[in-house]
């Protein structure tokens, strides 16, 4: 469908869509990018709550390893007989928590929601390049979620080999009960999920490349669009490698091949597999796995850039540097995967090479953090809940990022690998930072999604509980890791040197519970405001990007008349000489003569001459 056809229809019918919409086509099998974005978001929120509850369960076990909680038996049955979570179920909890959070919440819930919502809106398109594929993308994701949850109702329990599902543990059902049917479901779910991501990614890339409105050249795209674009490229190039890893694992599990298996004697039984290598799986997995963390964090960085700029009432500092650092991260993310495998017995020289590429990636990340701070400098900062979450995101990105310098260093990684230090590191830099980026996006674009405002007070309450909670949960874990406490330990009771950490674990668990309950404030605010929130105005944050030029009421096609033409970059906030502190992207320079600088015309001699004449006439000193 070409955009001219839709624009013709939209122009004639005003806010009425020319299709007959039933409940089914509007809310369920919708092909409208806005509705699909909401579907992704709400599914993502549900998965996030589910995964968070799992984490509370294992935190309870870690804090009180010797105590019974009979109420758990009520909910979990045989997995918590006598009110104590079983070790195997503990590992399942950890596994599914990780899988859901990384893939379903922070990949689909974040990219899926905001790429779908903002790409057409911010580049000025009526919808995605391929709305039907977009719908399929959501439904594949949804089925993947259902299958993953269904694995909790399987006799042998859900997958429990860790979210990285390293074989042989994940390949041999006799080694752990979760590697039975539960693991099969995990693999099926993940295959569907990757199909969903690939369809989404193709769509995002083709939409951004082909459907930008007039005047929206690449260097006028908001940083959100840049980040979604590069994220989609990373996803498209790396997710298929995970499919190959998963398919080979399915072959090993079900058809007797030996891609990953060799020389195994499991539970006294000699297995016939020969010639495979478990390290092969790790290479394939981390070839996706490391880009994956950038898939998770780059959209968060994009959303944060937009929110920080809008609410500081100041252009984002170093727009070009921000884009180049995203590009740098994109490229480098493909050549650093080996840093997850320093101690697997990989060739040590190769380890050294991966260490160099890994530490290089810290440079563009540092540039981004500094540019955020420079954006705040001499701003006029408005603390909406979205802005607070954006500041929180930068804080986590830095606190979690600096510990990456330890882990990226092969020599230091010897002692820190797979300890709580790693848990602390990635929960801060990719977990908390991305969740905060996502929440900042939800608070900021909620008026655009639902046409209503969220309660600011509940937003503040939510922010402070979550921000403090996340720091209290993850910061102490660094020290456990330095002491040598491994991750995925069911209890700290078997080692004398770990016993001192049980007191810290109690603090961590209480912080997790309070932060978890704090999410009720968000849920009430989010779902309550859909129906009862204050009606939103068209541009509540006084923002420059194109989505705020659309009417509050949604309809298929986004703009009632012509799609606006873009005349300027998206960050003209507080431009000197203009009466307001923002100039939307669709305002032509001819309307803002009093604030134009010669630099704005990018060497267009004619425009500069006109501006010079105007300046002379109005006694305005335009700097050359």
């Amino acid at each position: 469908m070409s955009s001219t056809v839709i624009s013709h229809d939209a122009a004639h019918h005003g806010s009425h869509d020319h299709h007959h919409e039933t409940f089914l086509t509007k809310y369920i099998f919708s092909q409208d990018h806005k509705m699909i974005a909401k579907q992704f978001l709400i599914t993502g929120i549900i998965m996030a709550v589910f995964a968070m509850l799992l984490s509370i369960l294992f935190r309870i076990q870690l804090a009180w390893p010797d105590k019974d909680f009979p109420i758990l038996e009520v909910f979990l049955g045989k997995w918590a007989e006598g009110g104590r979570i079983k070790p195997e179920f503990f590992l399942s909890l950890v596994t599914i928590h990780g899988t859901m959070m990384v893939f379903f919440v922070l990949t689909a819930g974040l990219s899926g929601t905001f790429s779908n919502l903002l790409i057409p809106y911010q580049i000025g398109a009526r919808d995605m390049a391929s709305p039907f594929m977009n719908m399929l993308s959501y439904w594949f994701f949804f089925i993947a979620c259902v299958i993953m949850i269904a694995s909790f109702f399987v006799e042998s329990g859900p997958a429990s080999a860790g979210w990285t599902i390293y074989p042989p543990l994940s390949a041999v059902p006799t080694s752990i009960s979760g590697s039975g049917l539960g693991m099969t479901l995990w693999l099926i779910s993940m295959t569907l999920f990757i199909a969903s991501q690939v369809m989404g990614g193709v769509n995002y890339i083709s939409t951004i490349l082909n459907m930008r409105t007039k005047g929206m050249d690449l260097w006028r795209m908001p940083l959100t669009i840049w980040s979604f674009f590069l994220t989609a490229i990373v996803g498209l190039l790396s997710f298929p490698v995970l499919v190959s890893a998963v398919v080979l694992l399915i072959f090993d599990r079900s058809f007797g091949t030996s891609f990953y298996l060799s020389d195994l004697v499991v539970q006294g039984q000699i297995l016939p597999n020969e010639g495979g290598s478990p390290i092969l799986f790790q290479h394939l997995f981390w070839f996706l796995g490391h880009p994956e963390v950038y898939i998770v964090v780059m959209p968060a960085l994009g959303l944060t850039s937009e929110v920080i700029s809008t609410n500081s009432r100041k252009p984002i500092f170093g727009y070009h540097a921000m884009v180049y650092s995203l590009v740098g991260i994109t490229v480098l993310s493909f050549i650093v995967w080996g840093h997850h495998m320093f101690v697997t017995g990989m060739n040590p020289f190769l380890g050294g090479v991966f260490m160099i590429t890994t530490l290089i990636i810290a440079v563009p990340s540092a540039v981004k953090a500094f540019n955020y701070i420079a954006t705040l400098w001499r701003g006029n900062i408005r603390f909406t809940p979205a802005m607070l979450f954006a500041i929180g995101m930068v804080s986590f990105f830095v606190s979690g990022g600096v510990t990456g310098i330890f882990l990226g260093n092969a020599a230091l990684d010897i002692n820190l690998h797979d300890t709580y230090f790693v848990v602390a590191h990635f929960h801060l830099v990719m977990g908390s930072a991305s969740i905060f980026g996502m929440l900042c996006g939800v608070y900021h674009w909620y008026p655009k999604m639902f046409g209503r405002m969220m309660s600011t007070k509940l937003g503040y309450l939510h922010f402070w509980l979550t921000f403090l909670g996340a720091y209290l949960v993850f910061f102490p874990m660094h020290f456990m890791g330095i002491d040598g406490v491994p991750r995925r330990y069911y209890a700290f009771t078997e080692f004398p040197f770990m016993e001192k950490w049980i007191s810290v674990n109690i603090l961590v668990t209480w912080a997790a519970i309070v932060a978890g309950l704090g999410q009720v404030a968000f849920l009430v605010n989010f779902f309550g405001s859909i129906w009862r929130g204050k009606k939103a105005t068209q541009n509540p944050w006084k923002s420059n990007t194109l989505e705020w030029t659309t009417p509050v009421e949604h309809f298929h096609g986004n703009w009632p008349g012509e799609i606006p033409t873009v005349h300027r970059w998206p960050y003209d906030y507080s431009k000197p000489g203009h009466d307001e502190d923002f100039i939307p992207q669709d305002v032509p320079y001819s309307h803002t003569m009093s604030s134009n600088s010669y630099h704005d015309f990018e060497g267009d001699e004619e425009a500069i001459a006109i501006q010079r004449a105007w300046n002379k006439e109005n006694n305005r000193s335009g700097e050359e």
Binding site: Q267, I270, P278, L359, I381, I405, L412, N415, G528
Partner: protein, 446 residues
Amino acid sequence: MKLKINNRFRSILGCLLLTSIFFAGPVLAFQQDTVVVDTTAGEETSMAVGVESVVADTATSVDGIANGADSTAVVGTSSGDTANASSTAAEVKQIDPQVYKDFFYYVLLFLVICTVIAVIGKVISIYELTHKMNGRYNPLAGNTLQAVLLLLFLIFFLWGVYYSYTVWGNWSWRDAVTEHGEKIDTMFIITTVITTFVMIVVHILLLGFAYIYRMRANSKAYFYPHNDTIEKIWTIVPAVVLTVLVLFGFFTWRTITSIPEDLQKSALQVEVLGEQFMWRVRYPGSDGEIGKRNYKLTTAENPYGIDFNDKNSWDDISGEHIVLPVGRSVRFHIISKDIIHSFYIPDFRVQINAVPGMTNYFQFTPTVTTEEMRDRMNDPKYDYVMLCNKICGSAHYNMQKKVVVVTEAEYKQWLSTQSKYFTEDLQKEFAQQSKEVEGITTASLN
């Protein structure tokens, strides 16, 4: 206005009252016989309906109040939990009623907290409304409050970093007791100093700027889109610092992992085999060579799968613990019987995965005996420990082996007390087998 607020409080109180009855409900039910249980369940459902109607009431009564969302927080949760209560009460009968009592106590507590928060939220909006009526309302008050809170958070953050470094840092830090570990420690300290400095400075700037440049009436932000010089500086400075760290790390890593061949050969060889959920240790015996192993030879008597056709294996010694002579280079051969494990000794700064189908090596020299370490730690029970650091199943959390570092003499003495893998039973079996094999070969030769 007044009337509406009264309605809200009444409905909240009503909800709380009803919930408290529920939490008593199941308890009463269990004290009577099963028939009564059914009726209570029925009652509960009806009560649940009651609550829902209250929800509806509240919904209508608070409609139009600005932050009505607060009240749904309370009411929404209470109705959800009631539904839970009735279903669980019917299904599970053997669990002590006290459990439910406790559970609902906590649910109730949470509801009370929600109510308090809702009340506070209400009070604040009334306060704002009165200020608006009196014309003294400052629309930026809330904004300034958040800025102040961020500043307070900065202070809390800095205190937290100080506290955690001094207290928890102290708990977690023990100097390495191997030669290469000392190099790792130096690098760790340097990296910690640099990263802590960066983290603190960035937070002071981030939260400090947030406070200083909070929105004020009639002020305008400074239009400052870019400054190439500054950007170059903060690209180059991290790049230089990281280059230094990379080079330092790279050479340390190389010295740890690439050991010259003659030093590899002259070291004491020890093999460690990981399996669910234990470690087996094999010392080479007097010939200094570890015998071959073939996983296909694994039997109940020979769980290690040692190939006794290789005569080097005949004197191999099974170590109860890992005992090492101080000051002597040891080369560990790490293998796995079933799935991936990880050989990890935190005090030694030693870790390498045990991967089935391949042998990994780690060579190091312990420098401090267990006795010295106990003196140093002032803990007479302190032991080095080797633990599994790769998820491997249900008892992953307890897959350990004691590591003892002793003097050379003590080591020799200990080694002589350990038993051999080639036990008498195995010897007999092996002799019989080889006879049979010989018989077959002679037969075929003829």
